[in-house]
């Protein structure tokens, strides 16, 4: 994986402007980049850092509403910023390829996978259709897709997310490009699936000596993939260094702060032995129509404790939350609160029962009404549950805003659109607190946020728990979050609870084989982690279990 000498791509003083309203504002402020043949460079940074925009600019491409306003992008001697559209098209797909974040959205639903694969080589006369199809099947086999002879003839919706992501990598390889832009290729995948995709990408990039720009916000992932790492912040470069050096000895404060987030951990609380559980889920089954999604789920949540519910997508975490809130009545079993069974449907619950359990959602963007001011968003539950009005209500809203560390005078009259992602999530928390609940369901509340912002939210939730004695049911697929804040852990798979217990027990062997798979799949900062893990797994013959 050593950097080769010959320069493939240079980006000099790249400036990109984005259209906001009527005006063009600069979003990338003079970034330089040099990439050698066969080199893999990781671009990392939080959202808004300009990673994807720079990645696309390396293909001479700017999204609608963006334009390259200055600087030069030179690919193998060709100035992409000055090239004619037809010349650029001739390079795209053949010499520079792109792998998008969501393969499910980036494959055209109307065509078979293999037809999309062969499109570029056939269009540019590089191969005829038959040769291109054979080549596709070989690439599918190399990327360890099941049934490589057959899988290409399916439509995208008939293939799982992890497989699609590998098929998209194969598609990028179709013309054996010199450079591939990987734009967060594993962000949308579960950890166990991510491993397979990472390994497949790394092997194939190695094998064909392809240079790559690997864009991600996940440091541990980039550590596995890149030779060099460039850290970006708000459209400017923070620093660049070889991977080993960047991980062990980052120079800049910002990079250090990114690294430090990963070590955040709250002290664990012991479950008090003498208390009754606040919430008790007793053997519930649930189904969407004829499809059974929960099977005999049971666990308790004690006052003031944080119970993390973890599992991959489709494991039934959010469905359990829907049952607890009464949105989806279970088909079997009961949910008890304070020693009494709750009615199954929220329509049948009393206002006080509703008040006790509140919810915070993953997408603060869509969970807040964009047309309603903050004071009303927070004020409505306070009015509904506590009957506050007039000056009392205003005072309560201000109190809640202070509780979530936002200045009341500055935020009271804003609309959600005028807030950042982290601030919106804080409003979501305040809205839940307004009901004065004893229990809050947090459904992937930090998944959509950058690491630093997410850490701020986790610290806030921790502080609120200490001050108000709240209990949390914390739904997440991210084990780093679990490690940071959970007291107890419930592991779910295919609608069942496979393991539960105090956090320390869960992170200490021996565990259930599925828990083990989940835990070992979480990328670590050690650049050799992926290599070692794959070695260990194939040695243990556990590789079948990881092939999802």
């Amino acid at each position: 994986m050593a950097a080769r000498d010959e320069v493939l791509l240079t980006i000099e003083n790249l400036r990109i402007e984005g259209l906001s309203g009527e005006d063009w504002t600069e979003i990338v402020h003079g970034v330089d980049l040099t990439l050698h043949k066969g080199e893999v460079m990781g671009l990392i940074g939080e959202s808004g850092a300009g990673k994807s925009t720079i990645g696309l600019a390396a293909m001479g491409f700017a999204r609608d509403g963006c334009r390259i306003s200055g600087g030069r992008v030179t690919f193998d001697g060709i100035d992409l910023t000055a090239a004619a559209p037809a010349e650029l098209r001739g390079l795209r797909g053949t010499r520079i390829a792109y792998v998008a974040q969501s393969a499910a959205a980036s494959f055209n639903p109307a065509h078979k996978i293999i037809d999309q694969h062969t499109e570029t080589p056939v269009h540019y006369g590089i191969e005829d259709r038959e040769t291109a199809r054979k080549d596709a099947m070989e690439l599918y086999a190399q990327l360890r897709l099941p049934n490589p002879e057959e899988i290409g003839f399916r439509y995208p919706h008939q293939v799982s997310g992890g497989q699609l992501q590998r098929a998209m990598t194969a598609m990028a390889m179709a013309c054996r490009p010199d450079l591939i832009i990987f734009d967060e290729p594993t962000t949308a995948l579960d950890v166990t699936t991510q491993i397979e995709v990472l390994a497949a990408i790394r092997d194939i990039v190695d094998q064909f000596n392809t240079a790559a720009i690997y864009i991600t916000h996940d440091l541990a992932v980039v550590a596995q993939m890149a030779d060099t790492i460039k850290v970006l912040l708000k459209g400017t470069e923070v620093e660049e260094a070889p991977t080993e050096q960047m991980l062990s000895n980052p120079a800049e404060d910002y990079t250090k702060s990114l690294w430090a987030v990963r070590s955040f951990e709250r002290p664990i609380k012991q479950r008090p032995t003498d208390t009754e559980p606040l919430l008790s889920i007793k053997g519930i089954d649930a189904a969407y129509g004829p499809v059974k999604v929960l099977d005999d789920v049971s666990f308790d949540i004690h006052p003031g404790m944080t119970v993390a519910v973890v599992g991959e997508s489709g494991s039934g975490k959010s469905t359990t939350a829907r049952c607890v809130t009464g949105l989806l009545p279970p088909t079997k079993g009961e949910i008890w609160m304070d020693g009494a069974a709750l009615p199954a449907r929220y329509q049948d619950r009393s206002r006080d029962q509703l008040r006790q359990a509140q919810m915070i959602y993953q997408m603060a963007d869509t969970a807040l009404n964009p047309k309603v001011r903050i004071s009303e968003i927070i004020g409505r539950p306070a009015r509904f549950y506590s009957g506050l009005k007039g000056a009392d209500l205003t005072r309560r809203v201000d109190e809640l805003l202070e509780l979530i560390e936002l200045e009341p005078d500055a935020y009271r009259d804003r609309l959600p659109g005028e807030l950042s992602g982290g601030q919106k999530q804080r409003i979501g928390i305040a809205r839940a607190l307004a009901a004065e609940p004893r229990f809050i369901i947090c459904d992937e509340v930090t998944s959509a946020l950058d690491q630093l912002v997410a850490e701020g939210i986790l610290r806030l939730l921790g502080r609120l728990q200490d001050e108000l004695g709240l209990a949390y049911m914390f739904i997440t697929h991210d084990l780093a979050t679990v490690r940071a804040i959970a007291d107890e852990v419930v592991v779910m798979q295919h609608g069942r609870v496979v393991e539960q217990g105090p956090k320390d027990d869960m992170f200490r062997p021996p565990h259930h084989s599925y828990t083990d798979l989940l835990l070992s799949s979480v990328p670590e900062m050690d650049p050799n982690w992926l290599t070692e893990l794959l070695k260990a797994r194939s040695a243990a013959g556990a590789s079948e279990a990881a092939t999802i």
Binding site: A86, R89, G93, T94, A97, S106, E119, T120, H123, Y124
Partner: protein, 316 residues
């Protein structure tokens, strides 16, 4: 799975048709006066009117007459025209064929023309070509069809003599002759229906251009026409097909004015005459045919939407 869906829709369509037949029958009942009054005129005495009613069976209660009529329809008997004594099916069939001929003629030109034009304006969106096409089709859809018809007659018939202004039909005409003689009414209809379909094609395609798979196609080096035709259009069919169905239904059921302008012997004229003369069996039969046309075309649109959706065509 598709067969089951089609059967279900067909069943629902029949049910709709039943409800529609009820509505038609009792709406016609609500029309002031009846055939006896219409034929005998103002001067007729109560007795003569009553005698004629009895003769025509109009004195029986409405529900009984509805059931009779419905029973007839179900056994393929649409009744006899009160006015001419002719079988309704005979009176209608030639007219219906004429209307279907004109509708097909217009549709065969308009549908491909509108969709292709829609693809082109989507490809060259916001260009001069796009704007001119949009304005031109908007003008044609906003003008009343009789006005369009007369304008065409003025320029293509009266001034240049290129096409006949009156679309009279005779049984012994050759197809070429038929097409020539009905060209102006067909062109009028094409102008009326093109705008709707073209604009929907354009909107449906442009709506998809922000999709990640369109960006992917562009990043794979595909030229713009291929991005539109191969990547956007196949995903845009559902709304386009629905608008096409709506316009086809219009071509069958909404062309009375065009028929009048060109003196074309279609079903629309027959319906208007029958309403004026209170010839209820003919009115009911025409309305039922119109309703069936709408239901069938909507069913066809639903099936078309399913067939163009790979998720429904190829379940997991």
């Amino acid at each position: 799975m598709i067969a089951a869906l089609v059967l279900k829709r067909l069943g629902l369509g029949l049910l709709t048709l039943l409800v529609v037949s009820l509505l038609i029958f009792f709406a016609v009942e609500l029309l002031p006066g009846d055939l006896a009054q219409a034929v005998l005129g103002q001067a007729a005495t109560e007795e003569t009117v009553a005698a004629m009613r009895e003769q025509l069976g109009l004195d029986r209660p409405a529900p009984a007459r509805y059931l009779d009529w419905l029973g007839g329809v179900l056994t393929g008997d649409l009744g006899t025209s009160l006015l001419s004594g002719e079988r309704v099916s005979t009176a209608i069939s030639q007219r219906l064929l004429n209307t279907l001929f004109l509708a097909s003629y217009a549709a065969i030109i308009a549908v491909p023309f509108a969709v292709i034009l829609g693809v082109f304006v989507a490809l060259y969106r916001n260009s001069i070509f796009d704007r001119v096409a949009n304005v031109a089709t908007l003008v044609s859809i906003s003008s009343p069809e009789f006005f369009l018809g007369y304008v065409l007659i003025l320029f293509l018939s009266v001034k240049t003599g290129a096409f006949p202004a009156i679309a009279t039909l005779r049984g012994d005409m050759s197809l070429i002759d038929l097409l020539y003689r009905t060209f102006l009414p067909a062109l009028t209809l094409v102008l009326v229906v093109t705008a709707h379909m073209m604009r929907m094609t354009r909107a449906a395609i442009i709506n998809l251009l922000a999709s990640p798979y369109i960006e992917m196609a562009r990043l794979k080096g595909m030229p713009p026409w291929k991005v539109i035709v191969k990547h956007a259009l196949p995903n845009a069919w559902a709304p386009i097909i629905n608008v096409i169905a709506l316009n086809l239904a219009y071509l069958v059921t909404g062309v009375v004015l065009v028929e009048v302008v060109f003196v074309y012997p279609g079903i629309g004229q027959l319906l208007v005459d029958a309403v004026a003369k209170r010839d209820f069996p003919v009115v009911q039969a025409c309305c039922l045919i119109f309703a069936a046309t709408f239901i069938l075309l909507n069913l066809a649109a639903d099936i078309g939407s399913i067939l163009t959706n790979p998720r429904l065509r190829h379940p997991k």
